[in-house]
């Protein structure tokens, strides 16, 4: 909280400016703007079809906004292809877990370092000294992340055989391996039970505090968002409904009508 408040005065880490997305006549997002400041956990909420995932996919460059701009540290990200988003410090997880199912946990996390390392096929084939050195450094980092997320025991297990909750942690580990400045989490609580959701909430807060990250949390689970977010943006039908602290947003009559009122939480 305090960290985020201190940062309010400075320029935003990520700025969404008047972003609209139109899919053949259907307006999925309509002039959305908000700022993310360093150290914040920003919760993006809204009922199904509100445009949360559309916005998320704009941030990871899977969709191109029809108008508006997205600035990361002041520079537009809209001219970058999707594979050049990780290198500017935007990491993400996926809604239904998108791991590499045939690779081990360790290899999944190793792929996470791709944007932070370099190599070419000739040096790799010859396993040159600098390639070996960079692999050693990478392995050290990967082990550090695995033990941070308590995944050391399954490091060499193929991910497709792991329970869903563990796979979600592997995905988080893979995202952390790229040293992101902003972590985009797409419904991390989906498919988790009550207890797991609270453990996850703690983990997200710990990652923010200990690894100095900024988190964008797209979430259905109101309890989770309201308990860990510093700042909440509520969407409905592609428009921004309200923005503010969790309690402000919770008290907003439009939000209650559109979202909270229809749910018995």
């Amino acid at each position: 909280m305090t960290q985020a408040q201190l940062a309010q005065g400075t320029s935003p880490l990520l700025a969404v400016r008047d972003v609209s997305v139109v899919f053949g006549g259907i307006v999925a997002l309509n002039g959305i703007s908000f700022d993310m400041h360093k150290g914040q956990i920003l919760g993006l909420i809204g009922p199904n079809g509100a445009g949360k995932t559309t916005l998320f996919n704009c941030l990871s460059r899977l969709y191109q906004p029809s108008s508006g701009d997205i600035l990361m540290e002041g520079a537009s990200i809209l001219r970058r292809p999707p594979h050049r988003i990780a290198e500017i410090g935007i990491g993400r997880t996926f809604q239904n877990v998108a791991l590499f199912p045939n690779l081990s946990v360790m290899d999944n996390v190793r792929v996470g370092t791709h944007a932070r390392t370099s190599s070419d096929i000739i040096s790799d084939s010859l396993r040159l000294a600098w390639v070996r050195r960079s692999e050693t450094d990478m392995n050290r980092k990967v082990h550090e992340i695995l033990s941070y997320l308590d995944l050391e025991d399954v490091a060499h297990t193929t991910v497709s055989g792991l329970p869903f909750g563990t796979q979600k942690r592997v995905e988080l580990a893979r995202a952390l391996a790229a040293d992101p400045k902003i972590l985009l989490l797409d419904e991390p609580a989906g498919g988790l039970n009550h207890e797991e959701v609270y453990v996850l909430g703690d983990l997200i807060r710990r990652i923010r505090d200990e690894r100095h990250m900024t988190v964008l949390l797209v979430e259905h689970h109101m309890g989770l968002v309201m308990s860990i977010a510093d700042h909440v943006v509520a969407l409905n039908f592609g428009k921004k409904l309200a923005e503010g602290t969790p309690s402000q947003v919770q008290a907003d009559p439009d939000v209650i009508k559109a979202y909270l009122g229809s749910k018995d939480q």
Binding site: A98, L99, F100, N102, L103, S104, I121, L126, G161
Partner: protein, 339 residues
């Protein structure tokens, strides 16, 4: 996931690096195989040595397909085209320009890398069965391209080119066949080691990430288009080198040696050897070289049908190919040791 794959995944809790055996053999087994490959030619006739050379050559070609399909998840029924380009590069360089046979190999590799990389560009828009069809077209077009009139001066047209078999160097007293076998063996081992290194590296992991999930790979910073075309390039380069060696071993290149049948054989070899398991390549190669002969031995008139039945048996009994046999063997050995 099959029981076999689970074993592959679980048996390596103590290993630090990439679970190596998921795609290679253990050191002990490798040394035994290597020793057998080095010693065997001393005891057999020249014709058998020639067949062993072809085994290594097809093994390389299957390995190349394994990197493409097992590694990056892209299908190809066009490997015969890359093989042909490699073979013709060597034949033309040796016969028209008097280039040393050993020097033609890296040249063929580079030429085929370029060819494969360029072919990979349009192939980027295709995946799965559609990609298989596009590569199929490449395979059917290649023999006709080689017959083109204006290339006839270089390629010899329908007649093809005769290639001179090299003598053993340094006054070594060994037959041409035996020398070529050892030459091929050294090239094969070197390429095998490079391939294992490549698949265990950052590039190899990028290939496999693309195979498993393109969108996630891209979000991790993997340039999907680049690595897909690189996989095509690498695969084509190795296939081309195999083609070069094949041209030297057979002493002849002709358009109709490199039809779609060759491409399908290589595909079959990959499946029988186990997709993604590199040592299986040599087993797959043995299957496509020797099993047709065995089939002919059983019935001359129906050799094709017998071959088909044998193939069915293999796929039915061990769907994961030689890899599965190797894993079952390991389990059995483990049990025997415990008792």
């Amino acid at each position: 996931m099959s029981a076999a794959e689970e074993v592959v995944a679980e048996g390596h809790e103590a290993v630090e690096a990439v679970p190596k055996r998921a795609m290679t053999l253990g050191t002990g087994t490798s040394l035994v195989v290597l020793a057998a490959l080095i010693i065997a030619p001393v005891f057999v006739k020249n014709f058998i040595i020639f067949q062993m050379t072809m085994l290594l050559i097809y093994g390389l070609a299957v390995l190349a397909l394994n990197i493409l399909t097992g590694g990056s998840g892209q299908f190809s029924l066009g490997q015969s085209a890359f093989y042909a380009v490699g073979a013709y590069t060597t034949a033309v360089l040796m016969e028209h320009f008097n280039v040393n046979y050993a020097l033609t190999l890296p040249i063929a590799g580079v030429v085929c890398f370029g060819f494969g990389f360029l072919f990979g560009q349009p192939a980027l828009r295709l995946s799965g069965v559609y990609l298989a069809l596009a590569t199929f077209a490449l395979a059917t077009a290649m023999p006709q391209l080689l017959k083109l009139n204006f290339l006839e001066h270089w390629t010899g047209g329908v007649q093809g080119l005769v290639v001179t078999k090299p003598d053993a160097p340094f006054g070594l007293k060994m037959s041409q066949d035996m020398w070529l076998y050892y030459f091929t063996l050294v090239v094969t081992i070197a390429i095998y080691i490079f391939a294992v290194n490549l698949l265990r590296s950052r590039s190899g992991r990028a290939f496999m990430a693309i195979r498993d999930n393109e969108i996630a790979a891209s979000a991790m910073g993997v340039d999907v288009a680049l690595y897909k075309t690189l996989a095509f390039g690498v695969s084509a380069a190795i296939t081309g080198i195999a083609g070069s060696l094949g041209a030297i071993a057979v002493q002849f290149v002709a358009p109709d040696s490199y039809t779609i049948t060759l491409a399908i054989s290589l595909f079959l070899g990959m499946v029988v050897g186990g997709v993604g398991w590199l040592p299986g390549s040599i087993v797959g190669a043995a299957f496509i070289i020797f099993v047709p002969n065995i089939a002919e031995g059983i019935s001359k008139g129906l050799s094709g049908a017998v071959f088909g039945v044998l193939l069915f048996l293999v796929i039915y009994l061990v769907p994961h190919g030689a890899r599965q046999v190797a894993i079952l063997g390991q389990q059995l050995a483990g049990k025997l040791r415990k008792n």
